[in-house]
């Protein structure tokens, strides 16, 4: 859809003066309730650069999932604009892959069937479909389980399958909604490392929602901290740590400093307007 718009494919996401990949402009989202409207998001503006990895962290009810669903085109804004490649989002599209917390695998399809689901909607020839599906399955290390049904997989394997399904259609943007939230700590760290190593090889724009501060800092170049009631951006923390990120980095004082900074801004927010 938007190929050829970004000539500097190798230079990464450094140049944020170029047109942002995803752009939220004064986005408002309200939901009607019995006693008036509930404001899920209040005038949120955020730019995500091309091939940038941005995480969004915040307390529950801050509207972070709503933000992601709007970029995915599953939910429309009440006011303001959501732009991808400068064009308003009007609905979902295969150029924006979404990974859900609940995996959302089709339980009647095998791992391969799930991964091929999106590919079958394209005009690709069968051989190319198979090749891409195999590649995506290999990328997440599920080759030995290609013919297994989701019910036989562990939580981590299910989420890897969901990631492969999103990768297979080669989206330019990955939207991840607390993808590792339901996994145990060890699996979570493994999947984080796997995600980063894939991202380093095949750079995409990633918008990643999480409630885990460690995860937010470890993955991203910028951490967006949100506040609740109404949902809004509290502050944005730059993570000036080099990629590839490693276990050593996770234990470094520099990481701890940024982590504490984010933690403080998540959990010691001024209750804006609620006292009045």
């Amino acid at each position: 859809m938007s190929t050829g718009t970004s000539p500097n494919r190798s230079s990464g996401a450094r140049d944020r003066t170029a047109r942002p990949k995803i752009s939220f402009r004064d986005v408002v989202k309200t939901f009607p309730l019995k006693d008036g409207d509930f404001t899920a998001l209040d005038r949120v503006s955020l730019d995500v650069g091309d091939r940038e990895f941005v995480t969004v962290v915040g307390p529950s009810g801050c509207g972070k999932s709503t933000l992601l669903n709007m970029a995915a085109g599953l939910v429309g804004p009440s006011a303001g604009q959501v732009l991808v490649d400068g064009a308003p989002v009007t609905g979902p599209g295969p150029e924006r892959g979404v990974i859900f917390q609940q995996y959302a695998l089709f339980p009647w399809l095998t791992v391969r069937g799930n991964v091929e689901f999106g590919l079958k909607l394209t005009s690709l020839p069968a051989e190319e479909r198979t090749r891409r599906a195999d590649h995506a399955i290999e990328l997440v290390g599920l080759t030995d389980f290609a013919d297994a049904l989701p019910k036989t997989l562990s939580g981590g394997m299910k989420q890897r399958c969901a990631i492969a399904r999103a990768y297979a259609v080669d989206p330019e943007v990955l939207l991840m909604d607390e993808p590792f939230g339901a996994l145990d700590a060890l699996t979570r760290v493994q999947l984080q490392d796997q995600l980063l190593s894939t991202w380093t090889r095949e750079r995409r724009t990633v918008l990643f929602i999480t409630h885990d501060v460690d995860e937010a800092v470890y993955l991203a170049r910028r951490v967006v901290v949100m506040a609740a009631r109404p949902g809004r951006i509290h502050r944005i923390v730059e993570v000036d740590l080099p990629y590839p990120r490693t276990e050593e980095l996770r234990l470094s004082p520099e990481f701890a400093r940024i982590r504490n900074e984010v933690w403080t801004s998540v959990y010691h927010q001024q209750p804006a307007g609620s006292a009045a």
């Binding site: 085109g73 609905g91 979902p92 599209g93 089709f106 339980p107 009647w108 049904l149 989701p150």
Partner: protein, 268 residues
């Protein structure tokens, strides 16, 4: 209920049970069958109740099998059931899906479905006979209605119960509505459809026999009604047993299909 559903996963737990020597369920079933027939034979032999014993019913069954009456009657009943059931289920699937998918269709159709569900299909028979004559049509129609009404609710429930995130997952991969319907909603609703089909088949089988009791010139229900006028109790017994056995076989067949088609489900 959830406690007893996963015996295959706990071989250690089954070992002490076998220590107590409970025979396998199939053997118990057979034993119960033999015991039941024995009790029946004793009751009949003592003359406590005026019923024919297993032997006279068995020999009548052989007679009826020998002259082809039983097969002819069973086939006549089966044909009505299958015709009505297939037509009813075939219509129930699109109607149920329409109701689940489009609120407009749901609002328009639901009052009728709910109303006719409360009217026993047999109550329609007098009207059906007046309007459609006394040949096959009213019987098949009533069975069709019974099967349709059971299945349509199941199909409808199946569609509205489809996990929202599965539909979202298909949409973000670029699936248009048609693909979502065929590749997500239908497979996700299949377990419900099959349950509906099983209930529908049970309802259809129950209805055919009753319909034949009221008006027919062949069929298992007719044969029993005919036997009643001649006080031919063994034939009534043969009819009842045949109805039970065929009903059970059809149910097992659908259960088998269900296992095949919905094996992907995570059992809780």
């Amino acid at each position: 209920m959830a406690v007893i559903t996963a015996p295959d996963k706990t071989p250690a737990a089954t070992a002490p049970r076998q220590g107590r020597r409970i025979p396998p369920p199939l053997l118990l079933n057979l034993l119960a069958l033999v015991l039941g027939v024995a009790v029946w034979a004793i009751v009949a032999a003592t003359g406590l109740v005026d019923v024919p014993g297993p032997l006279s019913v068995g020999s009548r069954a052989l007679d009826l099998l020998g002259d082809g009456t039983l097969a002819e009657d069973a086939l006549a009943s089966l044909r009505r059931v299958l015709l009505g059931f297939v037509l009813g289920t075939l219509l129930a699937v699109p109607v149920g899906f329409l109701m689940g998918w489009y609120p407009l269709a749901r609002g328009l159709l639901e009052p009728y479905v709910q109303f006719f569900r409360t009217v026993p299909p047999l109550a329609i028979i007098p009207l059906a006979i007046v309007l459609m004559g006394i040949d096959e049509t009213p019987k098949v129609f009533v069975i069709f209605l019974a099967a349709f009404l059971s299945s349509v609710v199941a199909a409808f429930q199946g569609v509205i119960g489809v996990d929202r995130t599965l539909i979202d997952a298909a949409r973000v991969l670029g699936a248009p509505d048609r693909v979502i319907f065929l590749k997500v909603v239908i497979p996700a609703a299949t377990p419900f459809l099959l349950v509906g089909a099983r209930i529908g088949l049970g309802a259809a089988w129950g209805t055919v026999v009753a319909a034949e009791l009221i008006a027919a010139d062949k069929g298992l229900g007719y044969e029993m009604m005919h036997a009643q006028t001649y006080y031919d109790i063994p034939t009534i017994f043969v009819g009842l047993i045949t109805i039970g056995v065929i009903g059970l076989l059809m149910d097992r067949l659908l259960l088998l299909a269900e296992r095949r088609l919905t094996g992907w489900q995570e059992r809780r």
